[in-house]
Subunit: 209 residues, 2 copies
């Protein structure tokens, strides 16, 4: 029994290594060729595999994408947390969190692609079981939490906290999409300034109340 378990664990560890090998290959292709270029076959070739072999380690292409997005969201959260830790007062923390979120995606448009692709409207039956989707949602929410916490620390209730999170998230998302599609030029305006102004509005309303 014990021997079987040890053997099983070793096998699992080896299998996990193979998974990571494929994921690293996927990240490499995704970073250089973009999401469109990160086809299953391209990832398999980069990892030195045949396309079908990937299905032993992942249940679909989108499962690989989901893993990459989880990684991306972890990096996002790390950056937001770092920015928040450097701030002192709650309003400063609110501003730091919102701007760190915005800046992260402004600096890493590829991650934005990934997010927009997996967090999309009508998702196919094949793509991503409910559990994986919930995991991604939770990871995204985790990176947004510092905003809610700052609002709470400022005396705003739970409703205000949630409203502020949704408000700033939507505003950031819209601006980022506008930048990313290069349609911001239509308005001849600096998107980050608009983001800052929005943060200022939310803070002012919370302090005024």
């Amino acid at each position: 029994m014990a021997g079987v378990e040890r053997g099983s664990k070793r096998k699992q560890a080896v299998s996990a290594l193979r998974r990571d090998l494929i994921l690293e290959a996927a990240r490499r292709v995704f970073e250089t060729e973009g999401l469109d270029g990160a086809s299953l076959r391209a990832i398999a070739a980069e990892a030195g595999y045949t396309p079908a072999a990937l299905y032993f380690h992942f249940e679909s292409k989108e499962a690989i994408y989901a893993e990459m997005l989880m990684d991306s969201l972890a990096r996002l959260k790390a950056e937001v947390d770092r920015a928040v830790a450097a701030a002192t007062t709650p309003p400063e923390r609110l501003q730091a969190a919102a701007l760190a979120f915005f800046d992260f995606y402004a600096r890493h448009p590829r991650d934005l692609d990934l997010g927009f692709y997996l967090f999309r409207g009508g998702m196919r039956p094949k793509g991503l079981g409910r559990d994986r989707d919930r995991e991604l949602n939770a990871a995204l929410e985790a990176s947004l939490m510092p905003v809610g916490e700052a609002v709470a620390a400022m005396g705003g209730g739970v409703d205000n906290a949630r409203a502020a999170m949704a408000d700033l998230f939507a505003h950031a998302t819209g601006l980022l999409l506008l930048m990313h599609t290069r349609r911001i030029r239509m308005f001849d305006v600096a998107p980050r300034a608009l983001m800052q102004r929005q943060v200022g509005r939310v803070i002012a309303e919370l302090e005024g109340a």
Copy 2:
């Protein structure tokens, strides 16, 4: 010469009819099956054509999509204009325009799909020449103009007008995306109320200055 011209015009008219026939088929498929279901082959089948035949009338699948989006943007503009015409004071017109924009896409998520698809980041070389893209941009801008005009009527300069347009467009886009992907549930908040609040902020700042 005159005869040739008349003949040519007739041919062009007939050709335009065929185009419209295909476009109507495309709209039908798109409305019932969604964007994913609106493949070139599905559109061709619905129109009673072979896939290749469509390339005589359109240069690509995305060209068909572009035509549908132009139509969608025309309907959007019509609705915005109607709402603006029903308002009297500039602030009311501003609010009417922004909310009409928001409501249009809240009521027609399919049109949102289309817009998000064609107004996307890295567009392939094959898809949509620069001219078509500019046309779509212009049509979108036209539907946003009433906001800018209202700001101008309120004494805001050109910069304020553009900033307000970008601000409200980004906010609406972000909220709509949040609704459309059903991720608004994360925040337990009413998106239209957030949109109204945002319009209120923009108006208040313009009136305060």
